[in-house]
Amino acid sequence: MDMNFTVKNYVILIMFIITGVCVQAQNEISGNVTDEKGVPLPGVSVIEENTSNGTVTDFDGNFRLEVNSLDSQIVFSSIGFETEKISIPADQVINVSLKLDMQQLSEVVVVGYGNVQRKDLTGSVSTLNTEKVEDIPANSIERVLKGRVAGLQISTPSQDPGAGATVRIRGGSSLRGSNSPLIVVDGFPLGDAGNLKQINPADIESVDVLKDASASAIYGSRGANGVIIITTKRAKEGKTTVRIQQQSSVSYFNSEVDLWRDPVLLAQINNESRINGGFQPLYIGAENSTGVYYPSVSELQSGEWPYFTRWDDIVFRDAPISNNTTLSVNSGTDKTSFNLSANYYTDMGVYKDDDYSKAGYNLRVEHDLFEDFKIRFSNILSKGNRDSNSGLAYWRNPIFPVYDENGDYFLVGTNDYFHPVAISDNRLDKTKTTDVITSLALEYDIFDALKLTSRFNYKYGEYINDQFFPNIYTQAGDFNNGAAYINNWQSHNYVTETFANYDETFGDHTIGSTAGFTYEKYLQRNSSLGAFDFVNETLQNENLDAGNPELNQVSNGKIETELVSGIFRLNYGYLDRYLATFTGRVDGSSKFGKNNKWAFFPSGALSWKIHEENFLKDSKSIDQLKLRLSYGISGNQGISPYQTLSRYGVSQYYDNGSWVTAIGPGYEVGRAGQGGIEVLWGGIPNPDLKWETTSQYDIGLDMAFFEERLSLTFDYYKKHTKDLLRERILTPSSSYDRIWVNNGEITNEGVELSVNANLINKDDFSLTSNLIFFKNENEVIDLGGVAESGLTVDPNTGMQFEYSGVSLEQFRQYPNILAVGQPVNVFYGYKTDGIIQDLQEGIDAGLDGDLAQPGEFKYVDINGDGVINLDDRTIIGDPNPDFNLSLGLNLNYHNFDFSVFFSGSFGQDVINTQRFNQPSNLPYRWTLDNTTNDYPRLRDGRQTYFSDWWVEDGSFVRVQNLTAGYTLPFDGSFINNARVYINANNLYTFTDFEGYDPEVGTDGIYWGGYPRLRQITLGLDLTF
């Protein structure tokens, strides 16, 4: 029913009836639409204003439309062009040329609880239209954002199907809390960025990245890491369009897997290493201590030994295939419109039987209930399925067969938990996920300038993980005679938001303001069931009752948090030249101590549109010159809840011959010591615990020249984060070890530059480029007191530090430290000066025993005390890049399009843990015949110190993406648009790094693994 049936419509209807059929023909209008250069524009939407009456232009730009009234205005719109509104002339013929949309300046930027035109923006916000990355198949949007936005650092160390990415905006500003930006989808704050798998990237219209505090402070206690705002595609008025996007990809390694192909060399190297280490060599044609027969070198040489297994061929797929299909339907009248899209995505892992698939839909409906009252509704469903079979031992010793003579798996002694086929055949690890995001919004235009919006958002997520670890072949299974688990997890996230936007112009003054409040509740529950000791393994985890009932394990948990906020923003403009923004957010969070429940996060920004000043207004070359200045405060509440409550521990005690539950003050909060055998106790509440506070200022400059053919954005920022959430050490006599406190400071400082150039701009030939440069430097300013925080003091420099990250087993050391005055995660270890060539050289270097022998590392005696010991360590590397640079080029020639995207990261150091254990490097070892200074001798059992020898320059430039496409010439009668393309992702990497790929996590540790995958995609994009 049309609720909008106003008096006006009645009048029109009555006139319609009176004027009769003969009049009807007179109401037909026609015309032709071209661009500014007279080229016909097909597919332009032509609509009679305030009606559902409309059509589109044909391939020659012609249209014909019966209008209800000759008094109507006709609206011409097309993507990439400015919308024109034209009254019907007497001859009822409208020939119109549409102006190209000045994209940069008229672009709408989403800033949280409202939009603003880019030209009026005062804060630092980068926008990416996803059209640029549409050709790259991806499970989540984060993976394709790499290098696309200045200041947004994305790394993708995992190559598992469905894996996410690590996302940082302007560096990390927290040590123990989260460093991931907040991700907001259509106004709904979902949580940490990293793997937005719920949203099909093809449904995303644009991505806005709020970087400075002026922009992100509106998200208050969660804005400190920046905010990524995702806007999904909206329903549009106009005729029904159907779009099919199909991508089929094949992947393969971009380099050879580094494995032993010569068993003789393998045996020789291994024997040499063991002999040098004082051990019995293995390859001597005898059984070793665990009863495994190792052939002698001569048996291998003569070919007597019958086995050689290429495990990588057994473990890896030749060419994993992935598929991504999106089908969308979009239609609308002036009152109701909808957008429905469905997606099916499959991704094969590089390991056989390692799969990921996802299916989902996204429905968005908008309806004008009254002319001033709009309802928007959206519902997103996504179901994922992960069959995990990764981590198999492709590096297994090739001299062993897959099966023994009886056809059983050939195991290398007892406790062989690495047989890839045995594991692949018998292990179960499947995860099914369901995600639902639903949103209902009401928008009420109370009067022209004042709009009231109320939104209710709900997000549901769940996973069920089924696991079974078989006896014999897996450690967990062997210890327990089979281990089966069912792990359940679900979360509910409710957000209600109500806010008003008031926008009005009073003469030279414009005011835009937003005020409102939000309430969020997060609820998470999990449970885990474990059963062990199975008589028969065929059911895997299907019947946990079949395990030994005495060994059953159950656990469960729940997390509930609340956040109540008030938001406020005022934009003020004078003469469209001087702009000011003030935002404030008040947050009350349940996670924080009772003395600090509420926080206020203000920010302010000023902007001066210099180009609007008289002295520049008439400049032919300068279109925009805008200066921005902002300062603000935002927070990070990224710790787990219940840290501010007193908490008792639960344990088991053997009382009078049976196990009973024991409960009392103090609960286990962590482990320490070698092998984690020492328990750390916590449980005293800290009622003062609060958010981390980041204050940030930003100076920015936006420029556009030559009719916007060249535009440039520059930002300088400095972020200062204090009250870092950290654990303080307590006095041992308190009976507790740790308590969460706010101490510590860190700064991030950097510059960002992005340049867009429209180099060639002809009818059938255009070339655009965009260049992004950004640089971030961070520094740890304070970590709390030496004793309170348990800091170590470097004996040579007095530098205070603590170890961070993970301990590397091969060095028995934590390679990363957090050190006052240094960037986060710098490497701390020994320096080396080549390889010792003779014993005296070793002794002179301050070494003794095995470490002073020729062929050993020559560590440097940094403090000059004549001995090499722990005091000779210093900072030997920094995993943070000096700067990032990326360049995109887009070329259009007639119906062909071509784009290439380079992304580079420079100056970061990487710990190559594989530098002396691979077939590609071991043969270069030091020997008496090869007295190299590059590699040490082989020696099993060497205690290797972490030194700069393992640190390499990880700088790289990657041909991240390359696309070539062709748009087929259809007339628009049935198919409106058709494009085929080929896309290559991760095509080639230029680097001096010796491992497969220098792109590693933020700790700079390269773990080896397998080469990076290069992905080739064939794509088809059809619009009907």
Partner: protein, 497 residues
């Protein structure tokens, strides 16, 4: 009308807001929702006992009591903290993790005991039940303060549960009298409140009496032998000896549950935790899921042989199986040689030969067995590394020797000592010794009888003979030898020090 309806819709959304930001604890207990049922009180006192089982505390029984003495030395690839403790590297002691953890766990057990003492009396339990729970908590607090004072001397005193940041710092005791008064008073309370009730893993009246006797003797002999800090104590040596004698006598004669075990091997039979000797055992069982719940103490004492099951020959010709070990605690040769060759505590309780399943000799000392090892921690029903071997915290024979030492050369004292010697196959002690010689003889008896049971260091300390007995400690001042320094972390972080 229409507008109201619209605005009403909006208010539906406005209504879904509550402003209660208080966190409700989910899935965990705190002082607010606990101490309500009897089961809560039992769970609370068990939590205090459970603190004793953690590796950092239960292994330290041997690291301090035996390793730092003339009994054993560690294998050479043990960690630096173990080596330093053995070698009396006193400058490293403030940061020694073993000592810091021992210190910490004593306070963890004290805090858990304090939680019981503070919360249980107010909770309206039945009187007998409440007496038992509180009595055990008093015992545990005394036990742990006694551990602290013997190891460190003056330490911070926490008499109340620590539940807030402000309560974490407590000042050092002014003198040893302050600590010992607390320990004595706690023991007396426990004796008052508890019944005689032998129960694995829990202490009773006799345990409290045994502890009190040990405390009195510690004060008496340490003061008599001129141990610093003790010499400044108000307490009178003779009255302490006589209190030790009287209290020990209550254990020896005031009850009928506990007594001597006639056969030495029965004392250490892991399947007989309720044997007559066992006044207070640390409760561990091989069915536990984490180390501490189960025990690997056997692995520390038994040497590595070849990874296979070993069989120990019993006096009756049968064999007892066991896993082999990690060779962590190597028996000092001199200590081994100090036993009389006929002493059954050597012939039956120290192993120098192991057999295979067929009863064939498979390894001997000297030879594949790198050191003769103690048989006190053997579990024939071991599951992998998991055993039910338990530290012997208070043993009837210990109390008998306490009595003898406190009483001096009385006929009754001789009787107890001689029983223990005869049981070990030795002759009676030389009659007619004077008091000093008699006490020295009892100390020797303690060395052999209580070997590897975590007593030796404290005995040497109260006799003020650490430096002359332990070669690694020679040259140290008696202050350095008799008290470990407070952990550096305590000094750095406790503002009340």
């Amino acid at each position: 009308m229409k507008y109201r309806y619209k605005i009403g819709l909006l208010f539906i959304f406005l209504g879904i807001i509550s402003c209660d930001l208080e966190e409700e604890p989910y899935g965990f207990y705190s002082e607010d929702n606990f101490y309500q049922t009897e089961a809560d009180a039992i769970a609370a006192v068990n939590y205090a006992y459970d603190a004793l089982t953690y590796l950092e505390y239960s292994r330290a029984i041997f690291f301090l009591g035996d390793l730092a003495t003339d009994e054993i030395f560690p294998k050479n690839d043990e960690g630096i903290d173990v080596q330093n403790l053995n070698n009396w590297q006193v400058s490293s002691f403030p940061t020694n993790r073993i000592l810091t953890n021992f210190f910490k766990y004593a306070y963890i057990a004290i805090n858990r005991s304090n939680a019981v003492l503070e919360n249980v009396p107010g909770a309206n339990y039945e009187e007998n039940f409440q007496n038992q729970i509180i009595g055990e908590a008093y015992f545990l607090r005394a036990w742990n303060y006694f551990n602290l004072v013997r190891a460190f001397g003056n330490v911070p005193i926490h008499k109340n549960v620590v539940e807030t940041l402000d309560q974490t710092a407590a000042p050092l005791s002014e003198n040893l009298d302050e600590i010992y008064d607390l320990i004595i008073s706690d023991c007396q309370q426990a004796i008052e409140l508890l019944e005689v009730n032998q129960r694995l893993g829990r202490a009773d009246k006799v345990a409290a009496q045994a502890l009190l006797a040990k405390v009195y003797l510690q004060i008496a002999s340490a003061k008599e032998n001129g141990v610093s800090l003790y010499t400044e104590m108000d307490k009178d040596v003779n009255s302490m000896y006589s209190l030790a004698e009287q209290t020990a006598a209550q254990v020896l004669e005031g009850q009928s549950v506990y007594g001597f075990e006639d056969d030495l091997l029965d004392i250490y039979d892991v399947e007989m935790p309720l044997g007559r000797e066992n006044i207070f055992l640390l409760s561990m069982d091989r069915s536990g899921t984490i180390e501490g719940d189960y025990s690997k103490i056997s692995k520390l004492f038994i040497p590595y042989i070849d990874g296979a099951t070993i069989y120990l020959q019993n006096p009756n010709g049968t064999y007892t199986p066991s896993h082999d070990g990690w060779s962590v605690f190597n028996t000092q040769t001199e200590f081994y040689n100090s036993f009389n060759d006929n002493d059954k505590r050597k012939t039956e309780l120290i192993v120098d030969s192991v057999y295979n399943a067929q009863g064939e000799l498979s390894a001997t000392y000297p030879g594949a067995i790198v050191y003769p090892f103690s048989r006190k921690y053997i579990d024939p029903n071991f599951i992998g590394d998991k055993t039910s071997t338990k530290p012997f915290l208070l043993r009837y024979s210990d109390v008998a020797l306490i009595y003898a030492e406190a009483a001096g050369p009385t006929p009754q004292a001789y009787e107890f000592v001689n029983y223990i010697r005869n049981r070990a196959g030795l002759d009676d002690l030389d009659p007619g010794l004077n008091t000093d010689d008699f006490r020295a003889a009892v100390l020797h008896e303690r060395k052999w009888e209580l070997a590897w049971e975590g007593n030796r260091l404290y005995d040497l300390r109260r006799f003020n003979i650490v430096t002359e007995t332990v070669s690694e400690a020679s040259g140290l001042s008696s202050e350095e030898a008799n008290f470990y320094p407070l952990p550096q972390r305590e000094i750095d972080l406790n503002p009340s020090l």
